[in-house]
């Protein structure tokens, strides 16, 4: 599998570490309540189709959001987390 790091270009998957769904970047406020925190930490959809993953590119340290299809394994695109959050 190949992933494009927004800074380094297309790279082999072995340079990346996986960390689950991209909603991990939407941290709730400390007082958002139990349900919001439970959802943030534990509850994940299991889609057959399009999804967004978080991958860490070890060599440059970038966190990357990868648009991926769990059925076809197609990678539609990727963007830097830092750019999305800015």
């Amino acid at each position: 599998m190949r992933i494009t790091c927004p800074y380094c270009g297309e790279r082999d998957i072995r340079e990346f570490t996986y960390r689950g769904h991209a909603l991990a970047i939407a941290r709730p406020a400390p007082d958002a309540g139990e349900a919001a925190w439970d959802d943030y930490l534990h509850l994940r959809d299991n889609p057959a189709g399009a999804t967004q993953d978080l991958w860490h590119h070890g060599p440059c340290g970038a966190w990357v959001i990868v648009d991926r299809d769990t059925v076809t394994h197609e990678v539609a695109g990727s963007k830097a987390v830092a750019e999305v959050k800015r």
Partner: protein
């Protein structure tokens, strides 16, 4: 036998051995070609029935002629005689026979064949259950099988490699060469992968003309053009074995399998090729026809028979017969007759078959049987009128048509599509993104079609890469031999083989259907059809046709089995190349490594790092003696330890303090410049991630220390926090672990040692506990931190890594003057347990700040990672397993890490479990074993006695629950 051909053919110049007998061969021949040239037809025994077997094919799909190369540790079993090239001195052995190939005692299995059909083992070896693994399996395994490994470690070199290109062309027959030429001329970056040592595919094996000249001339010109093109890389002897996501292809190259003395060259190389697009020009594989005793040596694929004649000048027989349902196979009769070989008969089940040369043709006829114990001698022909006659022949060339090699199109879940006109499976459209099938792999029936579709596929692939290319002028080529009528089997009672490699017959497939293993996947597993080294390349489609017939369905309704990688066998030694022994994991050495080795210290692995365990001295016979001495040395004089393996993260910027406040539970923005603070880091779920000290070197400059084990994880965590949660902060982080060598200097004489090593007189009053700053070290700018992991007055002195070894040697020589010296991980562990300091033995991922008694370190004045979830009531329940100290009080004065704790009088079972021990040591300071562990309501039970039971090691004792800080609880020694 060798054919007398005009021009070119040189006399055999090489010799190799087959089962000890010398065989003469020509350079460029395969083992199979050389054996046939020397009239050796019997080359192996079958998997189950030990039937005599010969060579079936002329390519990598070979099911029968599996051989062992070499001897001893380098012995390589199950190689295909049809692929392996000969070289001077090559040693070849046949397989699965004893005592010899001609007299194989286990051929009695063949007599028992009526009982040994599909499912025999499942039905027979059911009772008693205890016999399954101890008796039945070893016996069956001895009887059945292929070649064997030597059992000795294989020291032959193998390699892994990587390649990148715009267009990967898989195969180099007419379609592959044409595609490669189009892409090469368009300036694309092209790789051509060909499993053979020579490019050309079937054109090397056929008598054909292209543009009015022999096809071989066109091939030679195409290869010369490709090899001269700077943008083309030709990889011969390279089989593409798998297709993976985003255009990644696996391939195995027989790099030096054909060389007599390869030296250090890798025998095989496993490639990962990344291609933006690819052309699948893998050709087609001929299929057989099932008829009685169709597995004898001398029964061969028709295309293979003429390949041996046309390419290598070898006739597999003196009197050849052909049994085929298609026009293409008539070429075998034509070509062999032209070469002067007797063609005794061509048997074609089609009533309207026409001869294309001068040979006896039996149209509307079938072959109903064969004879010849160790090799074919006669066949029985039933002619159109139903009359039987016997014909003497030593080679029967069989063809049931051709199956496109669609395998790679199935590797990403694509299912091939049945084409009724071709009576074959063809690749599904868009089965693999970016892969364009061409030529006979896509169902093309003639050389002209192959050339055309090769060019078209290349143009389509280049267009997909955004490049427009004009259609080239196509060479003029052969366009005939396309007639065929599906014909799968000759009915009869005798065994007719489908999968020769696994000894699966028509009867087995019918039995599977009869016993309701009617799904193709069930049939496959019940009969083992297609599960041999050839993976059903020769037989799967025929087996499917027979299953379809037996179950009253069409072939598309019956389906097809799934082709998975690898397409051809890949040795594990190639996949794992470089990962053997020390190559398995890189080693990280500290700057003091050599000096430590000089002192004879054994090393212990800490992640990839190697750290000294202890430093043995003369007279010490056990590690405990060294460890006890080193602990006492630190407590009474001074010890030196390399702590460079701890993670060091440099943090700079106006928001550095904000970042630290957010990732640590406690405050760092209030830390004064020149001070160090211990910090606790949580995961977002409220459990402890890591701990360590962070020093403030300047207003906007901190250096964070992580544990050795969590250095990478913490760095990744900080990256996440900065990029995903607070990209607005102006702060930068960098790992500096390898840039600094850092040594702990601990003990009552630590200052005295540093006085000698550090520049200038030091005013120690200005260096209180938990202070830090820049300092000169033997003339080099360094850093000093007054921190302690031993409970003694302690410092850590850091210098740029290039000075590490010199500083370490200086510290040791000066320490010895003071009665001190180096201490290792064992002593370091004892010192920290005596003080109740935690490591990842305690913060193992399931404990909270509350569990280790540090809940007050979670600041109420700010948010931090993990704060919200750490407040969950379940994580603050006083009854949780919480950190305590433990001391043995029973008859057994020993503690073991991993032992569990139970209340006195309670049964030592899971339901009564009260906790467990995480760290233990013998403390020479206190003269007792000490332990750290987690106990339910632990801190509320200080003074209580509980049982410790280690079921694994069989240790049992009573322990007293105590405060985890065993030694100097007020900390007076480290504050100084």
């Amino acid at each position: 036998m060798r054919l007398d051909r005009s021009g070119g053919d040189v006399a055999p110049s090489l010799s190799f051995t087959f089962d000890g007998e010398t065989v003469r061969a020509r350079k460029g021949e395969t083992v199979a070609a050389a054996l046939l040239a020397n009239d050796i037809r019997l080359v192996g025994r079958s998997f189950k029935y030990h039937r005599p077997r010969g060579i079936w094919s002329a390519g990598p799909e070979e099911p029968n002629a599996l051989i062992t190369l070499g001897r001893g540790a380098a012995q390589t079993p199950n190689q295909r005689a049809t692929v392996q090239e000969v070289y001077e001195g090559l040693e070849v052995s046949s397989q699965n026979r004893w005592p010899s190939l001609k007299t194989d005692l286990l051929s009695v299995n063949d007599l028992a064949a009526p009982f040994l059909g599909a499912g025999f083992y499942y039905k027979t070896f059911m009772w008693p259950r205890a016999f399954w693994e101890r008796v039945y399996e070893p016996v069956i395994r001895r009887a059945a099988g292929l070649g064997a490994l030597s059992g000795a470690p294989d020291q032959e070199p193998y390699e892994k490699a990587y390649a990148h290109c715009d267009l990967l062309v898989i195969g180099s027959g007419p379609s592959g060469l044409m595609a490669a030429l189009v892409a090469a001329r368009a300036g694309s970056d092209v790789i051509v992968a060909e499993q053979d040592h020579a490019l050309g595919g079937r054109l090397l094996a056929e008598v054909e003309e292209i543009d009015g000249a022999p096809a071989a001339d066109w091939v030679a010109a195409a290869v010369a053009e490709l090899e001269a093109a700077p943008n083309v890389r030709v990889m011969s002897r390279t089989t593409v074995t798998g297709v993976y996501d985003q255009g990644t292809y696996g391939a195995i190259e027989r790099t030096a399998m054909h060389v007599a003395d390869p030296g250090a060259a890798p025998r095989q190389t496993f490639w990962r090729i990344v291609a933006k697009a690819s052309i699948l020009a893998s050709g087609a594989i001929e299929r057989g026809i099932a008829f009685a005793n169709n597995d004898r040596p001398g029964v061969m694929a028709a295309g293979a028979v003429r390949a041996y004649a046309n390419r290598w000048g070898v006739s597999p027989g003196k009197s050849v017969t052909v049994f085929a349902n298609n026009d293409d196979a008539h070429r075998t009769a034509r070509d062999l007759a032209a070469a002067g070989v007797t063609v005794a008969a061509v048997i074609d089940p089609r009533a309207d078959a026409q001869a294309i040369g001068d040979y006896p043709l039996f149209s509307g006829a079938q072959v109903t049987g064969t004879t010849g114990r160790l090799g074919l001698t006669d066949i029985t022909i039933r002619d159109a009128s139903g009359k039987d006659q016997s014909v003497w022949t030593d080679c029967l060339a069989v063809s049931g048509g051709w199956n496109p090699s669609v395998h790679l199109t199935c590797h990403m879940n694509g299912r091939p599509v049945w084409n009724e006109d071709l009576a074959a499976f063809v690749p599904a459209p868009d089965a693999v993104p970016g892969l364009f099938p061409a030529g006979s792999a896509d169902g093309a029936q003639s050389t002209a079609d192959c050339l055309r579709t090769g060019a078209e596929a290349a143009i389509a692939a280049l267009e997909a890469l955004g490049q427009t290319t004009e259609a080239p002028a196509l060479p003029k080529a052969e366009n005939g031999f396309t007639g065929h009528t599906p014909f799968w089997l000759v009915p009869g009672k005798k065994r007719a083989w489908l999968d020769m490699a696994n000894d699966v017959t028509v009867k087995d497939v019918k039995l599977a259907a009869q016993e309701n293993f009617a799904s193709v996947e069930h049939m496959k597993r019940y009969t083992t059809q297609g599960m041999a080294p050839d993976q059903g390349k020769n037989s799967n489609v025929a087996a499917l046709a027979i299953l379809a017939d037996a179950t009253g369905r069409t072939i598309p309704q019956t389906g097809t089995t799934t082709f998975r990688p690898p397409f051809a066998p890949v040795p594990l030694s190639a996949m794992g190349a470089g990962a053997r022994g020390k190559g398995f994991a890189p080693e990280r050495f500290t700057t003091s490594h050599t000096a430590t080795e000089d002192l004879g210290a054994p090393f212990v692995e800490a992640g990839l790092w190697y750290r000294p365990s202890y430093y043995p001295r003369a007279g010490e016979t056990t590690w405990r003696q060294s460890c006890d001495r080193e602990v006492q040395m630190v407590r009474n004089a001074v010890g030196v330890a390399d702590v460079s393996t701890l993670g060091k993260i440099d943090i700079q910027g106006p928001d550095a303090a904000a970042l630290l406040d957010f990732v640590y539970t406690n405050m760092f923005s209030t830390l004064k410049v020149g001070k160090v603070r211990y910090g606790l880091m949580l995961r977002e779920d409220g459990h402890v991630m890591d701990d360590g000290t962070t020093a403030r070197l300047g207003e906007t400059h901190y250096v964070m220390t992580t544990t050795t084990a969590a250095a990478g994880q913490v760095m990744q965590h900080l990256d996440f926090v900065l990029q995903a949660l607070r990209p607005d902060w102006d702060v930068r982080i960098a790992s500096a672990t390898e840039q600094w060598a850092q040594f702990a200097v601990a003990g009552p004489k630590a200052r005295a040692l540093l006085d000698v090593v550090l520049d200038g007189p030091i005013d120690w009053a200005a260096w209180p506990f938990m202070s830090c700053g820049n300092i000169g070290v033997a003339g080099v700018p360094g850093r000093l931190f007054r921190i302690s992991f031993s409970g003694e007055e302690g410092f850590e002195v850091a210098v740029p890594a290039r000075y590490g070894e010199a500083l370490y040697r200086l510290l040791l020589s000066q320490a010895s003057v003071l009665g001190g010296g180096p201490y290792g991980m064992e002593a370091l562990n004892v010192l920290r347990i005596e003080k109740g300091f935690i490591t990842h033995s305690e913060i193992h991922g399931r404990v909270t700040a509350f569990d280790i008694g540090m809940e007050r370190m979670i600041s109420a004045k700010k948010d931090c990672i993990g704060k919200t979830m750490a407040a969950r009531p379940g994580l603050l329940d006083p009854a949780r397993e919480r950190l305590v100290g433990l001391k043995p009080t029973g008859a057994v004065k020993e503690l073991t890490a991993g032992a569990h704790l139970f209340n006195m009088g309670a049964e030592a079972v899971r339901l009564e479990d009260q906790g467990y021990i995480t760290s233990v040591c013998y403390s020479p300071t206190l003269g007792s074993f000490l332990g750290l562990g987690f106990l339910k309501s632990g801190p509320d039970r200080i003074g209580e006695t509980v049982q410790m039971v280690d079921h694994l090691r069989g240790v049992k004792t009573e322990v007293e629950v105590c405060n985890p800080v065993f030694f100097d609880p007020e900390g007076g020694r480290m504050r100084g």
